[in-house]
């Protein structure tokens, strides 16, 4: 195979489309040193772009722009979106309520409510909730970044005229959506993605026959595909150079095939305006499937949103270490070796491409090719285990916090953390089974009032005389775990903060899920049948293979 020039490699590896740059600008927008838009809002925007489900949002945006100008007293809509800090529901709500207060409690043309604002028109009204405003603000930012302020404003300013109706706003929204459509038509990597899809399908079909399913996408197939395609010349922008890109592509293919059952529902849905013969699917249906897939990563995402984000359960390094595992969803359990290859040798390849971008010398490049990876499978395994241990410690700390706040989540957590403990002492504490409790009908009838029982339990939870030595020991562990963590939210003073208390209540079940998935994966890794028997030998064999491939890809540059 002829070597590829360094410039081509750099271009392909480091290629960033204008669309990606525009989205990144929105996602990285800051106000007063903080991200203007929350991670969830950014992800929702990415989904709306990817699934092309922006039309409804554009309509909402047109109404919001009109609302914004009215709130600003006719001074323009810009100040509503760029002049008042972070794009948060509470912030938008405050702007609207302040404006209403300044005008004696009422803004003509608007009905201001607790959860949103209704814009009045001669032929009806349109409501926008405060909770929706951050997303619409991000959409506007994206619109202006891609289409341009001058063009977008020319249309948006039209919505500010007097005497408009719902119908005319709708027409204006359609025009704006058309602008977005025209932009995305030229910038979405649809053609590339479709070529990529084709290549993957052809490969798997070639390996397993046309009757292939998700189960035919395995570690061996992925590795073989990468070895084959990475050294080939890139064709029409399709990049299979890096192992992580290949791994992700196959994961997505697996997930796509796994959704096949849903396609039947899509086919039967009656959606006007979509060309079923051409294979077009209602964008909202696409979004629905994407949301299902995206849901895998939702526990980690939820930890970054309020109220759980008030507490530093996981730091940045720990979140990054778990991201790929969670994004893969069930595919991680089907492709564990590929996941580890991605985490280990994929990182090594990343270092190589960075070094190429920096135009390092031949010696350093040779060293990186030989080293191949910054760590081993066992070391990566250990990273996961360390995080698992940390998760347990954090959960114990949560237990302490929840118990201190008399939050009933503590009870669930006791059960989760100590499923094998002796709970019999609780029977006496809670008087379960005793006759005459709460004035029941006597005899064997016992009426339990859940609230009373929980409160009683929580009140006694650290008293080993009343809850038994095992539960008391667990609570002691929980207390020590809490005191041993020096992260944000893990101190006695913070426990008095209402937001922190809510953070613990929201975070605890998420952490349980995160811990459960990580434990399950670690368990799988522990009993996985590897081609080379154990992780050491597997690493040694993979190192030779990856090193050889890196030599093919980058050795020509030495």
């Amino acid at each position: 195979m002829a070597g590829i020039s360094a410039e081509q490699l750099v271009l392909e590896i480091g290629k960033s489309s204008e669309l990606v740059a525009a989205f990144q600008m929105v996602a990285e927008a800051e106000m007063d040193g903080e991200p203007k838009f929350s991670p969830q809002v950014c992800r929702d925007l990415a989904k709306a772009i990817a699934c092309r489900t922006y039309a409804k949002a554009v309509l909402e945006l047109c109404h919001l722009v009109r609302l914004a100008d009215t709130v600003a007293g006719g001074a323009g809509y810009e100040i509503f979106f760029w002049g008042a800090g972070l794009a948060r529901a509470a912030g938008f709500r405050a702007q609207v309520l302040d404006a209403a207060r300044r005008r004696g409690g009422r803004i003509p043309g608007l009905v201001v409510g607790d959860s949103g604002v209704t814009v009045s028109y001669p032929d009806g009204s349109f409501a926008v909730t405060y909770g929706r405003m951050p997303f619409l603000s991000a959409l506007l930012e994206f619109l202006i970044t891609t289409v341009g302020y001058a063009d977008a404003d020319a249309l948006l300013r039209g919505t500010l005229r007097q005497g408009l109706t719902l119908k005319t706003i709708s027409q204006m929204a359609n025009e704006l959506s058309r602008l977005v459509y025209d932009y995305l038509k030229d910038h979405l990597p649809t053609a590339q993605n479709q070529r990529k899809f084709r290549r993957l399908i052809d490969f798997v079909a070639g390996q397993a026959g046309e009757d292939f399913g998700p189960m035919n996408i395995d570690d061996a197939a992925i590795f073989e595909f990468w070895c084959q395609e990475s050294a080939a010349m890139p064709v029409e922008g399709v990049d299979f150079k890096t192992f992580p890109a290949v791994f992700k592509a196959f994961v997505r293919l697996r997930q796509t095939l796994a959704c096949a059952a849903d396609y039947m529902a899509i086919e039967n849905a009656r959606v006007i305006g979509f060309d079923r013969e051409a294979g077009e699917v209602d964008p909202d249906s696409i979004l629905g499937m994407i949301e299902t897939v995206d849901d895998y990563r939702s526990p980690l995402a939820a930890l970054e949103e309020a109220p759980a984000d008030a507490i530093k359960f996981l730091n940045r390094r720990e979140v990054l270490a778990l991201t790929l595992l969670f994004e893969c969803g069930e595919a991680a359990f089907a492709l564990p070796l590929s996941l580890l290859r991605c985490e280990v040798f994929g990182k090594g390849q990343g270092q190589l491409t960075q070094a190429l971008r920096r135009r390092v010398g031949a010696d350093e490049l040779r060293m990186l090719i030989a080293a191949c990876a910054p760590g081993t499978y066992l070391e990566r395994n250990q990273d996961f285990r360390d995080i698992a241990v940390h998760l347990r410690r954090v959960l114990l700390a949560c237990l302490h916090a929840l118990a201190r706040n008399r939050d009933r989540q503590a009870i669930n957590l006791v059960m989760t953390l100590g499923p094998d403990m002796d709970f019999s002492p609780l029977g006496n504490l809670l008087n379960v089974g005793s006759a005459g409790d709460d004035g029941g009908g006597g005899g064997n009838v016992t009426v339990l009032r859940t609230a009373t029982l929980s409160d009683r339990f929580l009140a006694a939870i650290e008293d080993d005389q009343r809850v038994g030595p095992e539960i008391a020991r667990l609570m002691g562990e929980a207390r020590r775990a809490f005191r041993g963590l020096s992260r944000q939210g893990f101190d006695d003073l913070s426990l008095k903060d209402g937001q922190i208390a809510k953070g613990y209540a929201a975070g605890a079940p998420i952490l349980v899920e995160v811990g459960a998935r990580l434990s399950a994966f670690l368990d799988l890794l522990g009993r996985l049948g590897l081609p080379y028997g154990n992780w050491d030998r597997q690493y040694a064999a993979d190192k030779i293979a990856f090193s050889k491939q890196f030599e093919r890809l980058y050795g020509g540059l030495l």
Binding site: M25, Q194, T242, R252, T256, G279, V281, M289, D294
Partner: protein, 182 residues
């Protein structure tokens, strides 16, 4: 689970669309170290420049405006939308230099200092009923975007003192310069 060949063409196409959406989602949200995307100048930067009196024209913004016609168009429009007033361009028949600009509710005059001949006063008169501006913007062919924070008005008059050779004075004297006040 269904296999590939059991899917109809329509469903295969749908699968392709789902794959496309997932891949695009990945491309948009993968801000890895491999990415070469550096933070470009965006609308938020233009808005801050146009509306915050103390926000200067930094080198990054200047370079971006110099090389991006669309960005310049965006800034022009933003200034127009957020300005208190845009002075009409002076008539082409005017001589090359003009020490006075009249506008609807505002007048800008230039007056050489008697006490220091190398310096010139820029006087902005705010007519009654008009809001006093806090920033003056100038731009034109020979003068890249200039932004000058204005002191508070006293009895409807804002006064700046500048070197006669300064960009501000030269730009205001130039009939081809456009002037916004905000």
């Amino acid at each position: 689970m269904a296999t590939w060949n059991t899917l109809s063409d329509g469903r295969k196409a749908a699968a392709g669309q789902v794959f496309d959406a997932l891949s695009t989602l990945d491309a948009l949200t993968d801000f890895s170290a491999d990415s070469q995307i550096s933070r470009a100048v965006g609308f938020a930067d233009l808005y801050a420049y146009a509306t915050e009196p103390d926000r200067p024209m930094d080198e990054r913004l200047q370079r971006a405006l110099a090389s991006d016609a669309r960005l310049r168009g965006d800034l022009d429009r933003l200034l127009e939308n957020t300005a208190l007033y845009r002075f009409p361009r002076l008539a082409a028949a005017s001589s090359g230099e003009n020490d006075r600009r009249e506008g609807d509710g505002f007048t800008i005059r230039l007056r050489q200092s008697r006490a220091e001949e190398t310096q010139t006063y820029v006087i902005i008169e705010v007519h009654p009923g008009k809001e006093a501006p806090s920033t003056l913007f100038i731009f034109g062919a020979g003068h890249p975007y200039g932004k000058f924070p204005l002191p508070a008005a006293q009895d409807g008059v804002i006064q700046l003192l500048s070197e006669t050779s300064s960009d501000l004075v030269k730009a205001l004297l130039d009939v081809h310069t456009e002037v916004f006040i905000r």
